[in-house]
């Protein structure tokens, strides 16, 4: 069988084209986040901003498993849902404060992610894809049918926003306002990005890429592939769980349909359209696929049609995703300019 590596090997010259210095990229991101709620003041667009930011977190989380460790996980919707339901039930049934429930959501998703990964340690490729999809179906059906706990298809309503955050020496920050809520979610997304970026640039990242490129060779060099796959799954599902916790408190209602397996496919579309194996790619993919359908609202609810068409076209015509395509185009332009100057 052919190798399982996911993105084609990209020449490093192309890869470094269009890449900003780190401090500039981070400053730009923080400034953009600070300005966005000032530009978009109505509730509709602010909610969209928050949803978009959550999608970014979900997408980079999935990319850690798919793009770096090379494992196709179609169960991301389950971890998202688990985090949402775990935190909401902790808050509404046990009266636990939001911030403790957030930790509970991350812990439960992480734990279940680890269990799935232990299951999946022996599986690769298609078997893993179907096993994780089956896991997503089971989780969805449990959320739908355990009515005494989750209220099934009726859903849970009136979930309170996060409780006020009182940092010592600062006035308490209230989260009834969508602007502040956006800052909170953006902080979470930035933190996730920072964490994944650090992991990827550490020897752990190299290890995961080695597993993606060739599991047998990696094992022959002394890499314990199983342990690192479990680790990647745990990190990825933990991020999805935290995103679920924020989702519940932002939207205020929970129904199992929000965590159907279609949600796994939309997250996958964001990662693949943006570009697997880069962290910038899924961010761009999530922004594009969240914002683009908003402009197409006029011609009916074609949100998912856009996802399907984008996913198919990207896989067929630019398998590295839009970020790779942009870098390639920029690099070609640069080369043409240099060649022109030489002549």
């Amino acid at each position: 069988m052919s190798s399982t590596k996911y993105p084609q090997t990209i020449p490093s010259r192309v890869h470094s084209a269009l890449t900003l210095p780190r401090y500039m990229a981070w400053t730009g991101a923080v400034l953009t986040i600070a300005v966005l709620p000032l530009v978009f003041t109505d509730a509709y667009w602010r909610t969209n901003l928050i949803v978009c930011t959550l999608n970014i977190a979900l997408a980079i989380g999935l990319d850690f498993v798919l793009g770096y460790a090379g494992q196709l996980n179609l169960g991301q919707s389950a971890f998202y849902g688990l985090g949402a339901y775990a935190s909401t039930l902790l808050i509404t049934k046990l009266g636990i404060p939001f911030w403790v429930a957030l930790i509970g959501a991350i812990a439960s998703s992480c734990l279940v992610g680890t269990v799935l990964a232990l299951f999946a340690m022996r599986l690769r490729g298609h078997y893993l894809a179907i096993a994780s999809l089956g896991f997503a179906v089971i989780t969805y059906q449990i959320l739908l049918n355990w009515i005494s706990l989750t209220q099934g298809p009726l859903g849970i309503y009136a979930i309170p926003p996060p409780s006020a955050l009182a940092l010592p020496g600062l006035p308490a920050i209230e989260f009834h306002d969508l602007g502040n809520l956006f800052y909170l979610v953006a902080c979470f997304a930035l933190l996730s990005y920072f964490l994944l970026d650090q992991l990827i640039r550490s020897p752990i990242g190299e290890t995961l890429i080695a597993i993606r490129e060739d599991e047998i060779s990696a094992a022959s060099l002394g890499v314990n592939c199983g342990v690192w796959k479990v680790f990647a799954f745990a990190v990825s599902s933990g991020i999805a769980g935290a995103a679920g916790c924020f989702y519940a408190s932002v939207v205020g209602t929970l129904v199992p349909d929000a965590f159907f397996m279609t949600e796994s496919f939309t997250i996958l579309a964001m990662v693949v359209v943006g570009g697997t194996g880069t962290l910038v790619g899924p961010v761009c993919g999530a922004i594009l696929l969240t914002v683009l359908p908003e402009f197409l609202r006029g011609i009916g609810d074609l949100r998912l049609l856009v996802y399907g068409v984008a996913l198919t076209l990207v896989v067929l015509f630019m398998p590295g995703g839009i970020v790779h395509a942009a870098r390639l185009a920029f690099w070609r332009l640069q080369r043409m300019a240099v060649l022109g100057a030489v002549r």
Partner: protein, 292 residues
Amino acid sequence: MAVVLQQAINGVVLGGLYVLVALGLTLIYGVLVQINFAHADIVTLGAFSAYFFMQSLGGGYIEAIAVAFVVGGMLGWAMNAAIFAPLRAGGNELLPLIATIGVSITMENAMLAWFGPIPYAFDSPYSNDVIRLGAAYITVQNALIVAVSLLTIGLVYVFIKFTFLGKALRAVSQDRETAGLMGINPDQLVMLTFVIASALAGMAGAMLGPVLVLTPFAGTSVIVKAFAIVIIGGFGNFGGTILAGLLVGLIESYTTQYLGPGMIDIVVFVLMLLMLAVRPTGLIAEKRDENV
């Protein structure tokens, strides 16, 4: 006792249809080592083409099954030509799988835009006639489903086991390169596999139409079970798939009777995950261990 017998009949009816869908998946996996998510939408489109053939053109039900068979086959041809053939050159394992997810989302939502979310009432003319079998009953529609499924499964088995093309197909699924060296054109056989698999799916759709709630999402609920069947039976394994399909059909009907319809997917997929943990090669083991 009558209930047990009745549910056994219902289970075999469902199982026969699941086998038709799962056989396509397993055939494609056999020659291509690829999973086709868009198989679900061929089932749905098969059901819709049969429905509109009967409603708009006034055709009979048996002819409608044939129409769905042809429509499914043409869709399979188009899908292989447009998606799988170009991506196969890349030699990547996951890209074609992701592409089929994209195609599936596209087709599902195109059908949603076209046909709308309201379920269609697909009435078969044979649904109201009942045959008595001892203490249990079977509708003529269900008897027809069992007969057509059995006949089709038998024909596919004979085709694969005894004809020259079937032998060539098995050769390609064992070793594509060597089969190519023996003068077999693997690309043509892959195309043939796709057409057969999709025609079976379209036909299964036409027969599932009166059983399921006919919406653009009808195929999705079937395909996730078909994946479970293919895993339980062993990917690329003909006999295992038939056995697992009937097993899942029976599980579904008995679960509905004794645990409630909400538990069907949970039972089926827990069984699938257990199979993956304990015996990933499927019920009837075969020497194919690349993915496990």
